[in-house]
């Protein structure tokens, strides 16, 4: 009674929709920022209070649309109903043993997954038993499949979506009579390189000792008004931990940033999704899976308000988030801040398609935090809808959205084309005519002779000659390697120059690639030193490995030949990488074929010439060449491996020596 008595004032607090900030928030709040990273932002939620409840190891929580809170009091085998944080009823005592999952529909019917007796219990508004059933009897369910219901959700047509522990086939769908309907939305199993290697080399008996590589079963489930099913899965990678399924069971989220220990998920009617993980971190998304905020901290014994020990359930009611903590036996209440309310209002309008109406909200959000890139997406879409393409272009770039950027650019380019195409065509035709006439006249009057002789004189310089030699490879690659081999043309100096060019062009092309095609959202993210080091390392490894391999496999090439030959083999890259990068600036995703295809051709060309190089320089047959190249690649891999092993060994040595020194210092 005492406890209930003192819960009253809290209800009183909650009556005011907006109270002041309480204690210092024990956590910082992060939002999705530029470059695929998280950035600090103003608090989205502040902890309001912690409500002690007479519960034990409670596993689930459900808040109805009128704000009643239902708690699956697992340890005490009952369902509690709270109104204004006051316990008003207790259901299912005697029927339930250990309710772990709970769903309450609009009529107040309670659907309960009882983890202790592995059955589903359906209770009416007053707690009377409607139905109780266990493992489906249908053969379709699978003969040796276990039925271990833990969580439950129910859609508008009263289909039960049941999370069965360890079920690799996905969510179990049943109807209220306990008939099996089917499996739904399974996760996919992943093969790692290690597993592939194991499968290659291990015997059947050895393999049998491993746990079967099965898809992780989801850990919790939520369902929205449109009967879309959302699940979270613990123990998978961050990027696969959260999914949403269409009615047909297809996952439509991809690349949503999550957590590896998600516990619960909730989707609200206003287009917001929240999840909580085992570390006490709360993630908020829009319903499309775009991350809005991450915040929360673990209670390490400090008992600071807003920290969590072992959260099991999360739900939202109006401006408040409720989190159930299994170890503390409390309900922790968080309150939306003015800043987050601004974001939410904008998100709601945006999700409903009112882009222009949402824009002012996000413009203010950006005022508060210029790195909150979600807002730029909304602002960009609004501009695009308003046909203000140049502003949309800029905003899409901030939002790091190449698709939107490409679309806006297409529109802009279209406008430009319409305006200038005629003039441009006339000019081009004029230029072409001029060139034809000039050529004719030149043939007759030989105007260009002085230039020709000057050019011929230039060829006396070795480097210039080496440069011109490069173009020979276009027409006669095999021939040209002969010249190299016979020391007739090409030089180590120019090879070095070519390698340097390759590195420079590599870096430049990264900077020059258009936003639509660049893998970096902004040139600021290009790690120049990495690019340079990797390029140089590859060149060195190739040359060293190829020479070493060839000397022991009857290759004729000398070091010099290999170095010069390899350098000249890279000429397609030197000639075309930069122009392709530049052209990408005026292409849109509609023409992605042009971009990708020209890149493919360029690399194929490089590969082809490298192949010819090995063949000609070392005087191999085709099969020998293939063998040589493969061995070279293998040797390169071994070099890297050796380097790594040496690194590890030296590290160990260093550890050993430093440990001895420590010990000596301590005892001595």
């Amino acid at each position: 009674m005492k406890k209930i008595l003192w819960l009253l004032p809290i209800a009183f607090i909650l009556m005011f929709t907006s109270t002041s900030v309480n204690a210092e928030t024990p956590y910082t709040t992060w939002a999705w920022g530029p470059g695929g990273g998280l950035i600090r932002t103003q608090d989205a939620y502040t902890p309001l209070t912690e409500i002690d409840l007479p519960i034990s190891a409670a596993e689930d929580l459900f808040v109805t649309s009128d704000g009643s809170i239902f708690i699956a009091d697992t340890g005490n085998g009952r369902i509690l109903e709270l109104q204004d944080f006051d316990i008003v009823a207790s259901y299912g005592e005697g029927i339930l043993k250990g309710p772990t999952g709970l769903f309450v529909d609009d009529d107040g019917t309670m659907y309960i997954a009882d983890g202790k007796q592995d059955s589903i219990v359906i209770l009416d508004r007053n707690g009377n038993l409607i139905n109780q059933f266990g493992r489906p009897v249908e053969p379709l369910f699978g003969q040796d499949k276990e039925f271990l219901p833990r969580k439950i959700a129910v859609d508008a047509r009263q289909n039960l979506y049941i999370i069965s522990e360890g079920s690799a086939n996905g969510i179990v769908m049943m109807n209220t009579n306990g008939n099996f309907v089917g499996y739904f939305g399974a996760n996919t199993a992943k093969m790692s390189l290690k597993m592939i290697l194991q499968r290659l080399f291990l015997t059947k008996e050895q393999l049998a000792q491993f746990i079967k590589n099965q898809a992780a079963s989801p850990s919790n489930i939520a369902i929205d008004r449109q009967s879309l099913v959302y699940t979270v899965t613990a123990g998978t990678s961050r990027w696969e931990s959260i999914s949403t399924f269409t009615i047909s069971g297809k996952n439509i989220f991809s690349g949503t940033f999550g957590s590896t220990s998600f516990r619960d998920i909730n989707v609200s009617d206003n287009g917001l999704m929240i999840t909580v993980d085992g570390n006490g971190q709360i993630y908020e998304y829009d319903v499309n899976g775009a991350l809005l905020f991450v915040f929360g901290a673990q209670d390490t014994g400090d008992q600071r308000l807003g920290t969590l020990v072992n959260p099991t359930g999360i739900d939202r009611y109006e401006d408040y988030i409720y989190v159930l903590d299994k170890d503390k036996n409390v309900l922790v209440v968080y309150q939306t801040t003015a800043f987050a309310r601004l974001v939410h209002d904008g998100v709601r309008l945006y999700m409903d398609g009112f882009y222009s109406e949402a824009k002012p909200y996000f413009e203010e959000v950006v005022n508060y935090n210029g790195s909150f890139i979600w807002s730029y997406q909304a602002i960009a879409d609004a501009y695009f809808k308003e046909r203000d393409y140049s502003n949309a272009l800029a905003a899409y770039k901030y939002a790091e959205n190449p698709y939107g950027y490409s679309q806006a650019f297409w529109e802009l380019r279209n406008l430009a084309l319409q305006q200038y195409l005629g003039t441009a065509l006339v000019c081009l035709t004029g230029l072409w005519l001029l060139q034809v006439v000039a050529k004719r006249l030149d043939k007759r009057y030989r105007w260009s002779n002085p230039i020709r002789t000057w050019f011929k004189n230039l060829l006396q310089y070795k480097l210039v000659d080496d440069f011109v030699f490069m173009f020979r490879f276009i027409k006669q690659p095999a021939d040209s390697f002969y010249y190299i081999k016979k020391n007739l043309r090409g030089s180590l100096g120019f090879a070095a120059l070519l390698y340097a060019l390759v590195v420079v062009i590599r870096v430049l092309s990264l900077y020059c690639t258009g936003f639509t095609f660049s893998k970096y959202p902004s040139p600021a993210y290009i790690r120049v030193e990495n690019e340079v080091v990797i390029a140089i390392l590859l060149i060195l490894l190739w040359n060293a490995a190829n020479y070493l391999v060839s000397t022991i496999s009857d290759g004729e090439g000398r070091v010099r030949d290999v170095i010069i030959g390899s350098a000249y083999s890279l000429f397609p890259y030197v000639l075309f990488a930069l122009p392709i990068a530049l052209i990408s600036n005026i292409l849109t995703l509609n023409e992605i074929f042009i971009y990708n295809f020209s890149l493919d051709i360029m690399w194929f060309w490089v590969g082809l010439i490298l192949f010819l190089m090995v063949k000609e320089i070392h005087n191999y047959s085709v099969s020998e060449t293939i063998k040589n190249i493969l061995t070279t690649l293998f040797t390169m891999a071994l070099f890297v491996l050796t380097g790594y092993i040496l690194y590890v060994l030296f590290n160990q040595l260093f550890d050993f020596v430093s440990a001895i020194l420590q010990e000596v210092r301590l005892r001595g």
Partner: protein, 741 residues
């Protein structure tokens, strides 16, 4: 008849207060006042809740002055103080322990003995001994104003002397270091508990609360139950980095505020009796331990325990194996605690704060601030520049040049700005500040800066350069890792991160002093400016660098001497009490507490202590998620506003170490700054430089704060307008009015 009436009144009151222990959250939610019940019932005449209010005859009177009588029980060295003004008796210990108290033998001894110790053996296993449950020799000698007790615990051969002296304001307890003897090399003194059960109350038998200096101040009301699951241990000034070597960096967590003033206290009966205990010496090795009733025992008590020896983990290899070892020598410092007793109207947290303020003023630490021109200050902190990497070299991104800063200040309609220039050094914020005054050439010249400083000072403001004198930023040049850095007991360089999210090492005192003196001399002579000191006011560590060992207590003295040598003005971010003498302005003052779930109220204790003496500024409002509420709290607590500004757009520093500044552009914030300044200036301007003398919660969410000059500010945190009599305050607003002092 009167007696019965009083008893009845008292019972009702106790009932109310019982209920009110159920109401703490209201107070928390609404700006930290007390619920109306407590505040609206000041006339508590009845004393029926009295606890152990008789002095048993085995106590003898040893000293007396105008206000107090001091009694001692020679067998346990427990003492009692009779407050002659009210007749209230303060007890340092429980006189007797009943079955109902449910204390076991160890706890009974702990509760009955004046002092207890934890001693450590060579394996660092600790054992607790109290006077009444150990073999010891105890000699009590009466002195002129009190008594002196020398105790020797026979088993571990540890002896010490406790001196208790009556003072005009209360009682002083001392344990001089030279009296501590550890004669058996196998045993070391670990912890010393000094009068741990002082003023302990049982469950909710006494209406009142405990005060802890958590954030701006927290109260924990006495109750029969508590939300706490373990007792609170907190080192003043934070834990000793010298013993830990590193603070793990977790950007997801907001670090809790350190206990920055060594003050704890209790109220026994609202507006009836209260005490505070102030540690004058030894605070840096003291630890508050607070036991709310319901954790371990049924008593509410809080006390200081003093740390003399600690064990630490000495790793012997890099993979983390190692041994637990005792520190090589005992921490050397004297313990000196003042208990100050309050009575009547002063017996609440405001009175406690005023008592501490008086203590600081009497010691000459706080001096009245001269500025009373009727306009509040506003802290404007400008980021000069930050560096970025271009290919393989670094360049400065200028965010606010000196000229741009001058332009902004000229434009902005605020008075008395408190301007701080951050990131002024060559290559900006995350490079090491030079030893002489050198500005990055991309920001301007020293000459320009000097004339800007002059014009700011001429307009009534202050100008400071930001400096974190202890921080040796990781990965930066400009110091010698070998000679300049402080070391932990495990012989590692100390590592941590500062308030600006930069990982750093810590300079040893010699390096701090050398660098600081060189730079401050330049700044104070070449500019009309001061230094805004971060880090050094709040970060206190012992340094175990060989031949140069400096413990925390000596570090305090060294820092104070270093600052005393200069006569330039210095302001501090979150300074601890030992810096108060050098604080011209206090930045980032907490407006709240750490949110321990068992604390029941947030109170502006720190603000009341400093009110009238040091202007206090909050954290930068650009990072606030709810500016309206934050401003209300500024007004309520008498705190001046702060903003963090850049001239250029914030996006430019997104990929730098300064990316914790996620919003700062003047173009975005200019109007907001003027609006908030104007609003706050109207309210807080008339009470500038005035001390807070009373604070009262009128109804839930409406708080009245009264200043020494008779002005009262009423803040309404709620969403509804408030009116009572002549007072009317709009929802989420505040008013100022004249009250009869």
């Amino acid at each position: 008849m009167v007696r019965i009436y009083r008893l009845f009144q008292g019972l009702i009151l106790v009932g109310f207060l019982l209920g009110s222990s159920a109401r703490p959250l209201d107070a928390l939610a609404f700006g930290g006042g007390e619920p109306s019940v407590l505040a609206a019932q000041p006339e508590i005449g009845d004393v029926d809740w009295r606890n152990h209010q008789e002095i048993p005859d085995y106590f003898e009177l040893v000293a007396e002055n105008d206000n107090f009588q001091l009694y001692v029980d020679q067998s346990t060295i427990a003492f009692k103080v009779l407050d002659k003004r009210s007749g209230y008796i303060w007890s340092s210990n429980l006189d007797e322990v009943t079955k109902d108290d449910k204390l076991n033998k160890t706890w009974t001894a702990f509760a009955r003995s004046g002092i207890s110790i934890d001693y450590l053996d060579q394996k660092a296993i600790s054992e607790r001994l109290s006077i009444t449950n150990s073999e010891n020799t105890l000699n009590v000698n009466l002195t002129e104003d009190g008594f002196q007790a020398s105790v020797k615990f026979i088993d571990p051969s540890i002896s010490l002397v406790v001196m208790v002296t009556l003072e005009p304001d209360g009682v002083r307890v001392e344990v001089p270091f030279e009296s501590i003897k550890e004669e058996d090399p196998d045993f070391k003194l670990g912890l010393l508990y000094v009068y741990p059960f002082f003023a302990a109350t049982k469950e909710d038998s006494v209406p009142g609360y405990m005060f802890i200096p958590d954030g701006c101040g927290s109260l924990v009301r006495f109750g029969a139950t508590t939300k706490a699951t373990n007792i609170l241990y907190a080192r003043y000034y934070g834990s000793d980095l010298g013993m830990l070597a590193s603070i793990p960096y977790n950007p997801m967590v907001n670090r809790p505020y350190n206990f920055s003033i060594p003050v704890i206290g209790m109220v026994h009966g609202h507006k009836q009796n209260a005490y505070i205990s102030v540690i004058e010496e030894g605070a840096s090795y003291a630890q508050v331990q607070m036991h709310p009733a319901g954790v371990i025992t049924r008593f509410n008590f809080l006390f200081n325990a003093f740390i003399y020896n600690e064990s630490y983990f000495q790793a012997t290899n890099r993979s983390g194996a190692g041994v637990i070892t005792l520190q090589p020598s005992t921490n050397a410092y004297d313990v000196k605690i003042h208990y100050r007793f309050l009575t009547g109207d002063d017996s609440d947290y405001v009175g406690m704060a005023k008592s501490y303020q008086k203590y600081l003023v009497d010691k000459g630490i706080l001096q009245r601030s001269a500025d009373e021109d009727g306009d509040i200050g506003i802290r404007l902190e400008f980021l000069g520049g930050e560096k970025e990497k271009v290919l393989i070299w670094q360049r400065l991104i200028p965010m606010t040049t000196v000229d741009q800063m001058a332009g902004i200040l000229e434009n902005l309609d605020v008075k008395d700005p408190e301007v701080i220039y951050y990131g002024w050094q060559p290559l900006g914020a995350s490079s090491m500040p030079p030893k002489s005054l050198k500005l990055d050439s991309g920001l301007g010249t020293v000459h320009q800066l000097a004339s800007l400083a002059d014009s700011i000072v001429a307009s009534g403001g202050n100008f400071y350069l930001y400096l974190d004198p202890q921080a040796a930023l990781m990965g930066e040049k400009g110091y010698s890792p070998r000679y300049d850095l402080a070391m932990s007991i495990t012989n590692f360089n100390l590592t941590g991160y500062n308030n600006r999210n930069e990982e750093n090492y810590y300079f040893n005192f010699d390096a701090v002093s050398e660098r600081y003196s060189a730079l401050s001399e330049d700044v104070f002579s070449e500019l009309n400016a001061g230094l805004a000191l971060d880090g050094i006011g709040s970060m206190l560590f012992s340094d175990f660098k060989s031949k140069n060992v400096l413990n925390r207590e000596n570090a305090i003295i060294s820092y104070q001497q270093m600052l005393a040598e200069d006569d330039g003005i210095t302001s501090f971010y979150l300074p601890n009490d030992y810096m108060f003498g050098y604080v011209n302005a206090y930045y980032d003052i907490p407006l709240t507490n750490n949110g321990y779930v068992y604390t029941t109220d947030v109170v502006p204790f720190l603000q009341i202590v400093l009110s009238g003496y040091v202007p206090v500024y909050g954290t930068a409002l650009n990072f606030s998620s709810n500016i309206t509420d934050e401003l209300l709290r500024h007004v309520d607590f008498g705190v001046y506003p702060s903003y963090f500004l850049t001239y250029d757009v914030t996006a430019k520093i997104l990929n730098t170490r300064s990316n914790w500044i996620y919003t700062s552009s003047y173009a975005q914030w200019g109007d907001e700054i003027e609006r908030t300044y104007k609003w706050l200036d109207n309210l807080l301007g008339p009470v500038e430089g005035q001390a807070i003398i009373a604070r009262k919660v009128i109804v839930e969410g409406v708080v009245a704060t009264t200043y020494a000059n008779g002005k009262q500010i009423i803040v309404n945190y709620t969403n509804r307008p408030f009116s009572a009599g002549v007072i009317s305050v709009n929802a989420k607003d505040a008013v100022i009015r004249e009250v009869v002092p």
